[in-house]
C-alpha cells in the first residue's frame, strides 16, 4: 500500500465527532511519522493528530470548523508517487468503506466491561491483542478515560487494559481503608480475575504509587514500570488541588481546580469539569475520595514512601514528569533508578498534554523490557 488514509480518531469512550480547528499541513507537504497534521477539538479536550506514516500529504478533505464523525476520512498521505486518478479512486473507496462500516452499527465499538473482583465491581477497558499486556492505572479522581490518547496507540500488537481504581469511575465505591497498599491488592486481584499473569504497569500520580506497590508485592508479575508524575516518591502534594477537588460542588469551581493540572489551562473545558462533577455526585463517590485522600495524603502530606522499594526493585523503570507539574513537584523525580524524562510545556497530565511523546517513550520502554 502506498496510500494511507487519515481519519478522525476516537479519543475516549464518549467521543463521537471532532471539529477541525487548525491544519498544520497543506496538500503537497512532506510529513514524517509523528509530525503534527491537525488540531481536533472535542467537547472535552483539544488534541493534535499526528501523521502515522511518512510521505506527502496529497489530499486535505476537511475545512476548518467542520465537525466530522469519528472514522471520517480527512487526509491522504502518499509514500510513493501516485497519480491523481489513483488518489481519487482511493478516496472514493475509503469513503465507501467508512460509510459501510458506520452503517453496520458503527463498526466494532469498544465498550468498557465489568469484572467481579472479590465481590466488588471493577470497570475496565480492554483494547488490542497479544503480547504481555499493559495495565493503565489513573490518578486520584481520574478514570480510565484519562488514557484516551495513550491506550489506542499502545494497543497496536498487544493487549492493554485501563482500570477504574476502586472508588473511581464505574468501579465500586468501596475502597476498604483507601490506602495505596489495599488499592494495589485490588489491582492484583483484578489481574487474577482477568487472567493477567505478568503486565507492564503504567501508573499516573496516585496510580503510580499503586503500580509501585503492585511491583513491590509481586515483582515477578511486573514486566516493567512506567511512573508518570507519580505519588509515593516524596511528601509534597498540592493542597489546593486535593482540597479543591474534594470541595468543589459547582462546575466553575471545579474547572478552576482542574486548571492546576495542566500547563496549558485552555485544555480544561466545561464538559471535562461537568463529567467529573457527575462522577462526584454518585452515591459513595465523595466518601471514597475522602477516604483515599485521608489515608494517603493526611493533612495534605503524602504518607506512602515507596522510594526504597523502588531502589531495590529488579523491574525496569521509566519515569516521566511534566516540568510545570503543580500537583507533585518535579523534584520528586530525582535520584530514581532507570530512565527519567522531564517534558517541557507539560504539567501534571503529560500523557494528555504531550501524548505522542509519552506514547513513544512508553512503547520504547516496554519493547526493551519485552
Amino acid at each position: 500500500m502506498t496510500l494511507h488514509s487519515v481519519t478522525i480518531p476516537k479519543w475516549g469512550l464518549a467521543m463521537e465527532e471532532g471539529m477541525l480547528v487548525h491544519w498544520y499541513v497543506e496538500p503537497g507537504a512532506q510529513v514524517a511519522a509523528g509530525d503534527a497534521l491537525v488540531d481536533i477539538e472535542t467537547p472535552k479536550i483539544t488534541n493534535t493528530l499526528e501523521a502515522a506514516e511518512t510521505g506527502v500529504v496529497r489530499r486535505v478533505l476537511g475545512n476548518l470548523g467542520d465537525t466530522l464523525p469519528c472514522g471520517q476520512l480527512i487526509a491522504v498521505i502518499d509514500d510513493a508517487e501516485s497519480s491523481d486518478d489513483e488518489i481519487d479512486a482511493f478516496v472514493s473507496q475509503s469513503m465507501a468503506e467508512i460509510a459501510a462500516q458506520q452503517q453496520s452499527a458503527g463498526g466494532p465499538s469498544i465498550e468498557p466491561q465489568i469484572a467481579d473482583v472479590g465481590g466488588e465491581r471493577m470497570r475496565y477497558l480492554m483494547m488490542g491483542e497479544g503480547g504481555t499486556p499493559v495495565l493503565f492505572l489513573h490518578g486520584f479522581g481520574g478514570d480510565l478515560n484519562n488514557w484516551m490518547f495513550n491506550q489506542p496507540a499502545l494497543s497496536a500488537g498487544r493487549r492493554t487494559i485501563a482500570f477504574d481504581l476502586p472508588g473511581h469511575g464505574g468501579s465500586s465505591k468501596n475502597v476498604a481503608d483507601g490506602a495505596v497498599a489495599s488499592l494495589a491488592r485490588t489491582v492484583i486481584a483484578a489481574m487474577d480475575a482477568l487472567d493477567v499473569g505478568k503486565a507492564h504497569l503504567v501508573g499516573h500520580s496516585l496510580g503510580g504509587a499503586v503500580a509501585m506497590a503492585v511491583a513491590d508485592a509481586e515483582p515477578a508479575r511486573a514486566a516493567s514500570l512506567t511512573l508518570i508524575c507519580s505519588a509515593g516518591l516524596g511528601g509534597e502534594i498540592s493542597r489546593a488541588y486535593i482540597d479543591g477537588f474534594l470541595q468543589a460542588k459547582r462546575r466553575r469551581d471545579l474547572q478552576k481546580t482542574l486548571e492546576l493540572l495542566f500547563a496549558d489551562t485552555a485544555l480544561v473545558t466545561a464538559d471535562m469539569a461537568e463529567e467529573l462533577l457527575k462522577f462526584k455526585r454518585l452515591d459513595g463517590a465523595e466518601d471514597a475520595l475522602r477516604k483515599i485522600a485521608d489515608a494517603n495524603f493526611p493533612r495534605f502530606v503524602q504518607r506512602e514512601g515507596l522510594r526504597k522499594a523502588l531502589a531495590a526493585s529488579p523491574v525496569p523503570l521509566l519515569t516521566i514528569w511534566g516540568r510545570e507539574d503543580n500537583i507533585i513537584p518535579v523534584s520528586h523525580s530525582a535520584n530514581l533508578p532507570g530512565r527519567l524524562e522531564v517534558l517541557e510545556g507539560a504539567g501534571h497530565m503529560p500523557h494528555l498534554e504531550k501524548a505522542s511523546h509519552v506514547n513513544a517513550m512508553v512503547t520504547e520502554h516496554i519493547e526493551a523490557a519485552g
Binding site: R251, R252, K278, R281, L282, D283
Partner: protein, 342 residues
C-alpha cells in the same frame, strides 16, 4: 453511560430509592394503574407511564392507588411523612393543586415551623406541569410561582433527564416537603443518565453554556429552547450564557448575579404567567442586588396573562417560542447604551 428518557430517569430514581429505603412509598391516582380491579394492574403506570413496573416489584402496599380525592390523599401523604414514611405522592396534573392547597401550604409546609423544629415532613409531591399537549386550560398550567411563594416548600423543575434523576433522589432524601414539577413535553427527551444513584443538591444552578454578552435564566422546558437560541447566536459571534437554576426554592441567586455582573444583560424565560412569577422575581432580584451591573433593561419572556388556550394555534403562541426568546435577546443587545458604546 446510557441514554435514557426523562420518563425513564424519574422511574429509575423512584425504583432505586424504593429499593434502598423501605420507608419510601408511592401514593396517587393511577400510579399502579388499575384502580384496584383485577386484570388491570399496571395497565397505565401513571397517566403518562412514569411509574410503570413499580407495582410489580414493590406491591400494592408500597404503590398505592387512590380515589380521585386530592384533598384526602395529599393529606394522607403529609401525615404519613410526619409519622415516619417518606411518601412520594403524585398530584397528576399540577392544576389540581386547587383542591388540596390547604394540605400543602397550610399543613405540610408548616409542620416543621409550628412544631418548633420537632417535626420532619419528608414528602415529595410530583406533578405534571406545562402546556403543549393540547390538554386545555385546566391541565396545562405551570403554577411554579404559587409554590415558590410559600415558605417551607422546596420547588424543583428539572429540565432534562440527568437532572430529573439526581434531583428526584435528592428530593426523596430531603426532610422537608418538595414540590417536583415534571414538564409533560420533556418526558421523551433523552440525555446520558448514570445507572447508579446520584444526587444533585438544591439551590445549585446548572450553567448550561458560558457566555459574556447576555444572561438567560430559564426553567424546565424553556431551557432547551434557550440553549437553541444561544447556539444560533453563537454562530453570529454573540455569546449568551444560559443558566438553569433547577430549583426555584431555594434559588441560586449567586450564580445569576455573578453572571449578570459579567454580561450586564438579563433575559428571564419562564412558561408560567407573568404576574408575581419567577420572571418578575428574578428581575426584581437583579434590580435590587445587581442594578449597577445592568447595561440594558431586563427582558422577560413568559406566557401571557391568560388561561392556556385549547386551540392548538393559540397554545403554540402562548408558550414562549424560540423566535420570541431570540427577539428578546436581540432587543437586550440593541439598546441605546450598547449602541453608544460601539
Amino acid at each position: 453511560m446510557q441514554k435514557k428518557s426523562y420518563r425513564q430517569a424519574v422511574n429509575e430514581a423512584l425504583r432505586q430509592e424504593m429499593r434502598r429505603d423501605p420507608r419510601v412509598v408511592l401514593i396517587g391516582e393511577d400510579v399502579a394503574g388499575g384502580h384496584g380491579g383485577s386484570g388491570e394492574i399496571d395497565a397505565y403506570g401513571g397517566v403518562l407511564g412514569v411509574t410503570k413496573g413499580l407495582i410489580g416489584e414493590f406491591g400494592a402496599d408500597r404503590v398505592i392507588d387512590t380515589p380521585i380525592t386530592e384533598s384526602g390523599f395529599i393529606g394522607m401523604a403529609a401525615g404519613a411523612a410526619a409519622t415516619g414514611l417518606r411518601p412520594v405522592v403524585e398530584l397528576m396534573f399540577v392544576d389540581f393543586l386547587g383542591v388540596c392547597f390547604d394540605q400543602i401550604f397550610n399543613q405540610a409546609a408548616k409542620f416543621r415551623y409550628m412544631f418548633g423544629g420537632h417535626a420532619r415532613t419528608p414528602l415529595v409531591v410530583r406533578a405534571m406541569a406545562g402546556a403543549g399537549l393540547r390538554a386545555a386550560a385546566q391541565h396545562s398550567q405551570m403554577l411554579d410561582s404559587i409554590f415558590t411563594h410559600i415558605p417551607g416548600l422546596k420547588v424543583v423543575m428539572p429540565s432534562n433527564a440527568y437532572d430529573a434523576k439526581g434531583l428526584l433522589i435528592q428530593a426523596i432524601r430531603d426532610d422537608d416537603p418538595v414540590i417536583f414539577l415534571e414538564h409533560k413535553t420533556l418526558y421523551d427527551t433523552e440525555t446520558d443518565v448514570p445507572d447508579d444513584a446520584y444526587t444533585i443538591p438544591f439551590g445549585e444552578a446548572n450553567i448550561v453554556c458560558d457566555g459574556d454578552d447576555a444572561t438567560i435564566v430559564a426553567f424546565s422546558a424553556m431551557v432547551p429552547r434557550c440553549k437553541a437560541v444561544a447556539d444560533k447566536l453563537a454562530g453570529e459571534g454573540i455569546s449568551v450564557e444560559v443558566i438553569d437554576p433547577r430549583t426555584t426554592s431555594p434559588l441560586d441567586e449567586a450564580s445569576i448575579l455573578e453572571s449578570v455582573e459579567r454580561t450586564g444583560r438579563l433575559i428571564v424565560v419562564n412558561e408560567d404567567n407573568p404576574r408575581c412569577s419567577m420572571a418578575s422575581d428574578i428581575a426584581a432580584l437583579v434590580a435590587e442586588k445587581g442594578f449597577y451591573s445592568l447595561r440594558a433593561p431586563v427582558k422577560s419572556v413568559t406566557a401571557p396573562h391568560t388561561p392556556v388556550p385549547f386551540s392548538p394555534a393559540l397554545e403554540d403562541l402562548y408558550v414562549p417560542s424560540i423566535a420570541r426568546i431570540e427577539a428578546a435577546v436581540r432587543a437586550a443587545l440593541s439598546d441605546p447604551a450598547r449602541i453608544a458604546a460601539q
